[in-house]
C-alpha cells in the first residue's frame, strides 16, 4: 500500500519488534497488539545472526528469535499469517536479502516479500552506495527502501541517500543509545532541518521510550516516531518473568497507545505544521 501513506493526515507511530521473539506464536500476538494500539506502520525485524547495528536489547531479542527457530521462510510465513492492517517494513541485514532464492542478488527476496505483503525495507548495513541492486528490485515490485540519516551523515552522503530513499527517511536521533533529553531534541531538530526539503516523510527513532518523548520529537517537526527497544524491553521482561502472553500483549498495546497519543499531541504543538 506504500509506506508514505502511513504518514498522511497525522504523525505516524512506527513500532519495531523482532519477528519470532521470543517465539513464533507469541510474537504474532505482540505484533498484532501494536497494531491494535495504534501503529501506523510496523518495522518487523527478520533476525540475522550478526546484527552489528543493534543495541544490546534488540541483539538479545534476535538471539531469542533465532533460538526459537526463526528462519527466512518462517519469517515470510509469519508475515502472511499476521492479521494487521498497516504497512509492514522488513528490517534486516543485507546478507539475508542477498542470499535468498536461487538467483544471485536481492531480487528473489524482494519478490517473495511483495508476495507476502511487505511494503518496504530498512537495511541498516546497506548504505546508499551499495544499494543499487536492492533499489532496482524494489522499484520493480513497487516496494519502498528506507534509509537512515545519522547526526554524523555528511552533506554529500545526504545527497546520495536522497536519490535512493522512498517510503520515509529514518532519522537517527543521536549517536548514543540513551542520554539527556535536550540533546536528543537539538540533534533531532538539526537533522530535520538538514533534510527539510526532502519529499519523503521523516520518522525519528533511537532512544524514544515514552509518550511525552514522542510528543517532543513530533513537535520538533518529525512526521513520525520509530520505537524499538522500549517495546522489546516489555517482551524481554515478560519473557523472563514468565508472564502470560496476553498480559504482555496488553502492556505492548498500552505503551503503543501512549506513544501514538504523544505523537498526536506533538503535532498540535508544532509552530507551523508542514503537512496536513
Amino acid at each position: 500500500m506504500g509506506l508514505e501513506a502511513a504518514f498522511t493526515d497525522e504523525p505516524a507511530f512506527v513500532p519495531y519488534l523482532a519477528a519470532g521473539d521470543p517465539n513464533y506464536e507469541d510474537s504474532l500476538a505482540y505484533v498484532e497488539a501494536l497494531a491494535e494500539g495504534g501503529a501506523d506502520a510496523i518495522e518487523l525485524g527478520l533476525p540475522f545472526s550478526e546484527p552489528i547495528a543493534e543495541g544490546t536489547t534488540i541483539q538479545n531479542a534476535i538471539v531469542r528469535a533465532l533460538e526459537s527457530g526463526m528462519t527466512v521462510e518462517r519469517y515470510f510465513d509469519f508475515v502472511s499469517e499476521l492479521d494487521v492492517n498497516v504497512p509492514l517494513v522488513c528490517m534486516t541485514y543485507y546478507n539475508l536479502i542477498y542470499q535468498y532464492g536461487s538467483s544471485e542478488g536481492p531480487r528473489d527476496f524482494v519478490a517473495r516479500s511483495a508476495e507476502v505483503g511487505i511494503d518496504g525495507f530498512v537495511v541498516p548495513d546497506l548504505p546508499a552506495e551499495e544499494a543499487g541492486p536492492l533499489r532496482e528490485a524494489c522499484d520493480e515490485f513497487g516496494l519502498d527502501l528506507v534509509f537512515i540519516v545519522a547526526p554524523t551523515t555528511t552533506p554529500e552522503r545526504l545527497e546520495r541517500m536522497r536519490e535512493h530513499v522512498s517510503g520515509y527517511v529514518y532519522v537517527q536521533a543521536r549517536l548514543g543509545v540513551t542520554g539527556a533529553r535536550d540533546d536528543v531534541d537539538d540533534a533531532t531538530e538539526e537533522s530535520l532541518t538538514r533534510i527539510a526539503d526532502w519529499d519523503v516523510p521523516k520518522a525519528v527513532g533511537f532512544g524514544i521510550k515514552t509518550g511525552e518523548h514522542a510528543e517532543r520529537i513530533v513537535s520538533a517537526g518529525a512526521d513520525g516516531v520509530i520505537v524499538g527497544s522500549a517495546l522489546v524491553d516489555i517482551v524481554a521482561e515478560g519473557y523472563e518473568d514468565g508472564d502470560p502472553t496476553d498480559e504482555i500483549a496488553a502492556r505492548l498495546e498500552a505503551l503503543a497507545r501512549e506513544l501514538k497519543q504523544g505523537a498526536l499531541r506533538g503535532a498540535q504543538e508544532r509552530p507551523q505544521p508542514e503537512r496536513t
Binding site: F48, S49, E50, P51, I52, A53, E54, G55, T56, Q59, N60, V63, L66, T71, V72, E73, Y93, Y94, N95, L96, I97, Y98, Q99, Y100, E104, P124, D125, L126, P127, E129, E130, F147, I148, V149, A150, P151, T152, T153, T154, R157, Q172, L175, G176, V177
Partner: protein
C-alpha cells in the same frame, strides 16, 4: 606498497562498506587518513611507523633457512620469522600502525575486539607504547578460556570489557565493538584485527602487514638471488596471509598458498548452523559480513555459521575480501589442513627446528608436509606467531589423539595433574 587501487573500496565484487550509516563518516574519515598518512606519508607517518616497528617491534624479522625441513622435503624451506615480533605474532604490525594512525588523526581513545586475545594483546601493547587509553571488547566465554591473554591486556593497562550477549565469543565482540564505535566515532578509533571489515580496513591492514613480504622478498633475493617458487601462509581473517603475499602478487611465477583450518571435517551441520572448520575460501560462498562482501561460512538462509578449529585465531566464518578476490582470480590457491595434521606439524616444527609455532602457523606447515611434492624448489613459509599461548590446548588435543610424533608427557602426570 601498491597504491593503484587505493580509492576503490572493492576488490572485484568483494569488499565495499556495508556498515550502519552512523559509521560511514568515520570510515570516510579513516579512508582519507589512510590515503594521506599511509599512502602519502603525510607528516612522516610511515617513517615513524617503520621506525617504531623496528625499535619497538623488532623488525626486520629474519628469513631463516630451515635446515631440517629442507632436508626432509628435499627442497629449500625458508621461514619468515614473524613469531619474533614483539608480542609473539605478526599482529603488532597492524595494531601499531592503527594506533599510531589514530594518534595522527587526533583520536583520543582506542577500542578493539578480540577473540582468542592475540589481536587484543597486540593492541594493548601498541596502545601502552603510544600512551593511548584502550578498551578491548571480549566475549565472556573467551575471557574465561583465554585468561593469560586477558591478563596480558590488563597489565598493559587496557580495559577488558566483557561482552555478555549471545554466546559471548568473537562474533558478539565484533558487533559490540562496532556498536560502541558507532556511539563514539568522534574521538575513538576502532582497531580491527585482520584484513576484514569495511573499506579502508582491508587495504590499510594489508599495507601495515605488507612489510612482511617486502622484507621477505628482499631477503630471499639477497640469500638466493632468486624469487621463491612458493609462499605459504595460514589464513584466518587473512592478515598474515596478505602481509606475506602482498609484494609477491605481481611476481606471477611465485605460487601463493593460503592455508585455512580444515577443522575436524569440511562438511557442515546446517541444522545447528555449525561448520566444524573455518575453510572459508575453500568451502564458503559469497555474502556480506562485518561490513564487507566476501566469502563466508553461512547456511542456505545466509545466517552466519559457527566455525571451528583447534586454533582459535583461524576460527572465523569470514575472510578478507581481497583474498576472496585473489582466489577467484586464480592468483592465490586456497587449501586447508585439518586439526590432526596441524597438531602433527606443530610437534614437527618444534622438534626439528626448535621453533614452537602458534597453532595457526602450524597449519601452514601441515600443508607443506602433506603437499611438498607439489611445491617448487624454494618455499617461503610465514611463521605468523609463536605457540606459547597454545601450550594448554596442545596438551589437551594431543592427549586426546595419541599422535605418534607427540612427546611422552607422562612426566607431567607423574608430578601431579595433567594440565599446565
Amino acid at each position: 606498497m601498491s597504491t593503484d587501487d587505493a580509492h576503490d573500496p572493492k576488490f572485484g565484487e568483494y569488499g565495499g562498506q556495508y556498515v550502519p550509516e552512523a559509521l560511514m563518516p568515520a570510515i570516510e574519515e579513516l579512508a582519507d587518513a589512510y590515503e594521506r598518512y599511509v599512502l602519502h606519508n603525510e607528516d612522516g607517518f610511515m617513517d615513524e611507523f617503520r621506525s617504531r616497528l623496528a625499535d619497538f617491534g623488532g623488525r626486520p624479522t629474519p628469513l631463516q633457512y630451515a635446515d631440517q625441513l629442507s632436508e626432509r622435503y628435499d627442497t629449500d624451506i625458508y621461514l619468515k620469522r614473524e613469531d619474533l615480533l614483539h608480542g609473539g605474532a605478526h599482529k603488532l604490525n597492524n595494531a601499531l600502525g592503527q594506533v599510531l594512525l589514530a594518534k595522527y588523526m587526533g583520536k583520543e581513545r582506542i577500542i578493539a575486539e578480540t577473540g582468542a586475545g592475540q589481536h587484543g594483546t597486540a593492541t594493548a601493547m601498541a596502545a601502552a607504547h603510544l600512551d593511548m587509553p584502550c578498551e578491548i571488547y571480549m566475549g565472556e566465554t573467551d575471557i574465561a578460556r583465554q585468561r593469560p591473554n586477558v591478563f596480558r591486556m590488563k597489565i598493559n593497562g587496557s580495559e577488558v570489557v566483557p561482552v555478555t550477549v549471545g554466546r559471548g565469543t568473537l562474533k558478539e565482540a565484533i558487533s559490540e565493538t562496532m556498536r560502541e564505535w558507532a556511539t563514539t566515532v568522534e574521538n575513538t578509533h576502532y582497531v580491527i584485527g585482520s584484513v576484514v571489515g569495511p573499506h579502508p580496513f582491508p587495504k590499510m591492514v594489508r599495507d601495515f602487514h605488507a612489510v612482511i613480504s617486502e622484507e621477505a622478498r628482499e631477503q630471499i633475493l639477497e640469500q638466493t638471488g632468486e624469487l621463491p617458487s612458493d609462499v605459504v601462509a595460514c589464513a584466518g581473517g587473512g592478515s598474515n596471509t596478505m602481509g606475506a603475499f602482498a609484494e609477491f602478487i605481481a611476481d606471477a611465477d611465485v605460487a601463493l598458498h593460503a592455508v585455512e583450518a580444515g577443522g575436524s571435517a569440511l562438511t557442515v551441520d546446517e541444522e545447528e548452523g555449525v561448520a566444524p572448520n573455518s575453510a572459508t575460501l575453500s568451502t564458503g560462498d559469497e555474502g556480506v559480513l562485518h561490513g564487507a562482501r566476501t566469502k563466508l561460512l553461512q547456511d542456505s538462509d545466509g545466517q552466519i555459521m559457527e566455525s571451528h578449529s583447534v586454533s582459535a585465531g583461524l576460527d572465523y566464518a569470514g575472510v578478507g575480501p581481497e583474498l576472496a578476490h585473489l582466489v577467484d582470480e586464480g592468483r592465490v590457491t586456497p587449501v586447508n589442513v585439518d586439526d590432526d595434521l596441524a597438531l602433527e606439524a606443530f610437534h614437527r616444527l618444534s622438534q626439528d627446528e626448535g621453533i614452537i609455532p602458534a597453532l595457526e602457523t602450524a597449519h601452514a606447515f601441515g600443508y607443506v608436509e602433506k603437499y611438498h611434492d607439489d611445491l617448487g624448489d624454494s618455499v617461503v613459509v610465514n611463521v605468523s606467531g609463536r605457540g606459547d599461548k597454545d601450550l594448554e590446548t596442545v596438551i589437551e588435543e594431543t592427549t586426546k589423539r595419541d599422535l605418534d610424533i607427540a612427546p611422552d608427557m607422562s612426566i607431567l602426570q607423574q608430578m601431579g595433574g595433567s594440565g599446565l
